[in-house]
Symmetry: C2
Subunit: 156 residues, 2 copies
Amino acid sequence: MTRLFGLTVTAVAVAATAFAASHANPALEGAVKARGAQMTMISYHTGLLGDMAKGDVPYDAAMATAAAENLAAAAAMKRATLWIEGSEQGAVEGSRAKAEIWSAPAGFEEKAVALEPAAATMVTAAGTDLEALRAAMGGIGGSCKGCHEAYRGPRN
Amino acid sequence: MTRLFGLTVTAVAVAATAFAASHANPALEGAVKARGAQMTMISYHTGLLGDMAKGDVPYDAAMATAAAENLAAAAAMKRATLWIEGSEQGAVEGSRAKAEIWSAPAGFEEKAVALEPAAATMVTAAGTDLEALRAAMGGIGGSCKGCHEAYRGPRN
């Protein structure tokens, strides 16, 4: 009887989660897609710079500067429209945002904002020379990792 | 015989297109995905502003300003990293970019750049009041439409 009750409670909890994920507010779904787009812009431009840093693509000061400027623009996007409360992992399909982003926002803000100075440093470095570009890569990767380790949930 | 020859040529052309689309350079595929992300950022933020303009969502000066700033940032992204030659519709899966973007770049530049002053106008308008926000919507929609009508191909 106890076991049966436990199974019933589990089944109800699973059904409730499925309901929440499938009936998410379109505004929250839009925010999750827009965050994904922001991450795509950041990873694409970091990849362009990384390919030059590794020597897979010839260093090109103008292209590297454009990549760093786009990376900086994506990093500086206002979080108010993107990180809308209620759009955490489990509540909206595709979201990997931990609930701590909203329950303890100061910690998230500190990690999220770290990409901005790292990207600003890259804007200058990217147009200087390949050595400067390489030296600025660690700041980009470190700020990505810092926020993801603390505030990104497991793969869906 | 003539008809058979025609069919053979068609089959070869279809096979060549399929080959080109499936073996696209990862750099070109990345650029197409990043352009899609840029368009998602633009449409998401235009949608937030449009929902307020229509009265579907209450006017909120701070949220409207953040949306307009993110729209302006997405519009101002450097085209050098995104509109890479060879990433036109037919050459890369998912691309709807017409070949004229590269064969007649001045015309594209004129249409593409039009969103920047429209978005800058919206940044000021969005924080002023609902009437100003509404008045600035036409400039956003018109610049989207102007570029899409001229340089975006049919749905894939």
